[in-house]
Amino acid sequence: MKINRAMPGTHNRMGMQILLLLLIITFCVFPFYWMVTTSLKTQLLALKSPPVWLFEPTFQNYTEVLTKDGVAKTLINSLIVAVSTTMLAITLGCPAAYALARFEFRGKRDLWFWFITNRMVSPIVLALPFFLIVRKIGLLDTHLVLILIYLTFNLPIVIWICTDQFRSVPFELNEAAMLEGASPFRIFRSICLPLAMPGVAVSAIFSFIFSWNELMYALVLTRNSAKTAPAMAVSFMEGYNLPYGKIMATSTLIVIPVIIFSLIASKQLVRGLTMGAVK
């Protein structure tokens, strides 16, 4: 390093690096900047051509979408659905992950492969029959339907991340507990689960983010009473005079919780998004 610093041209290289890094940051952040600033413009200002960069911000769009257009209700719907499906996925997925990590049984590999395939299946494949079934039994436009169908992608995430996590718990602890005569469930619940909490938390965050972001199922399976926030944002897009400020205000409200969660989990993000394939 010291040798490098003394070499000619190092200053240029450092400058080049700084420039590139700033470029990357701008590229990533600019759309956000534009989303937030547009959400603070009046409709008149948003439709200025060319666009205005400096203006007096107003929260009018936010108060309007939250109180008049019912975005508040759709945000609550999104929250109910995302939290419930995450809790359900954790409750069902953790024991399964534990079994895949700790128990020996026939067909383990096939079962695990089947779990993986669920991650690859396009939602449109399930959206069609789910719509018909749900319509028949009168559950269209309910939270329950979304909570259940979101399990198709949340359960695999929880199982994968947690299987990995359970494997990293020292096996000697299991052996010691078995010698003490503890039941398998007891060992899982009282010894391994507490130690696997970091993985459980990460999978919960992912499960929440994916459910919160989902659009297609929400579009197909809800109408009014269970409509989620992304579906609401899309419904602003109908008609000719698009309310840009309102659309961007709703978008900002949708994106902010996800950003916060992602930044909290940013260290585990790669692991989560690759299903543990990359550490």
Binding site: I24, S49, P95, P123, L128, L132, N213, M248, V258, T274
Partner: protein
């Protein structure tokens, strides 16, 4: 040996609930889709549901619209993925260099933003930023003397726009995956190699690349699956238009099923898509994930 044999009832207790859940919400609807796909099943003419055998499948397999949508989906993947890998690798190598740690932490955090953005919101942002009249992109292009471009209304430009946003959203993902790979290269080996040669690509090719392979495979698999699934962003940005120029496979099936109401035909399309997906993921997953046990 780090696994034990347990009683059957214990196994069922642990695995049963999630297997049952995935059967009920995944497999049962799928079987129903197979049933639907063998019928003439139009939502507007539910009195006329009738068994027609494999006619829907014959229609799909010879339907140029279906294969064009499939072709567009793979064109998107074929253009966007190499760019994402090239840019992602560049960013990863840059972040892997020593020094400037504050700015690099800042960069890593901003890379998280695109990935976390709700896909539907990306499309909406696209509409706002690339609007021919009010859009900021045409304004910026104007500063360097480029005439306003009709991004969303022109078939070729609209497709380019989809590619652009896909690159914006997923290059950070590739970059972070590859950066994670770079950090697994043992520091001694990397330093020794850097003493041997001044050429960075020699180090990349012979020292770092082997450590990047798992990440690259993961990227390949997941980007393929996600492109086949891609719906939200394109739906909110172009709705598949103008014409059918950005109608990817999942948008097309959604249109046939929910806007043309032909659930029978759409189900057949979905089943064929599923078969293609399963073949691809069989091929891919066996390459990547280490086996359980």
């Amino acid at each position: 040996m780090s696994a034990v044999s347990v009683k059957r009832s214990t196994l069922i207790g642990f695995l049963g609930p999630s297997i049952f859940a995935l059967l009920a919400i995944g497999i049962v609807p799928l079987l129903y889709a197979v049933w639907t796909s063998l019928h003439y099943f139009n939502l507007t003419k539910l009195k006329n549901v009738e068994f027609i055998g494999i006619e829907n499948y014959a229609t799909v397999l010879t339907d140029s619209v279906f294969w064009q949508a499939m072709g567009r989906t793979f064109t998107l993947l074929g253009i966007a993925l190499p760019i994402q890998i090239a840019l992602g690798l560049g960013i990863a190598l840059l972040l892997h260099q020593p020094g400037l740690s504050f700015l690099k932490t800042l960069t890593r955090l901003s890379l998280v933003l695109p990935m976390a953005t709700t896909y539907a919101v990306v499309g909406l942002l696209g509409q706002v930023m690339f609007n021919i009249k009010y859009g900021v992109i045409n304004q910026l292009l104007g500063f360097v003397g480029i005439e306003p471009v009709n991004w969303i209304g022109d078939p070729t430009n609209a497709f380019a726009l989809i590619i652009f946003w896909d690159i914006w959203q997923w290059t950070p993902f590739v970059a972070l995956v590859l950066l994670a790979g770079l950090t697994t290269v043992p520091a001694e080996i990397e330093e020794a190699a850097k003493l041997e040669t001044k050429r960075w690509y020699t180090v990349l090719r012979y020292v770092q690349l082997p450590f990047l392979i798992p990440g690259l495979t993961a990227v390949l698999i997941l980007r393929t699956a996600d492109t086949l699934k891609l719906f939200d962003m394109v739906f909110t940005l172009t709705r598949g238009g103008p014409g059918a120029s950005t109608e990817l496979i999942s948008l097309m099936i959604q249109r046939v099923g929910f806007r043309a109401f032909d659930q029978g035909l759409a189900s057949a399309q979905a089943i064929i898509l599923l078969i293609i997906t399963i073949i691809l993921s069989q091929l891919y997953i066996r390459l990547l994930y280490k086996e359980v046990g």
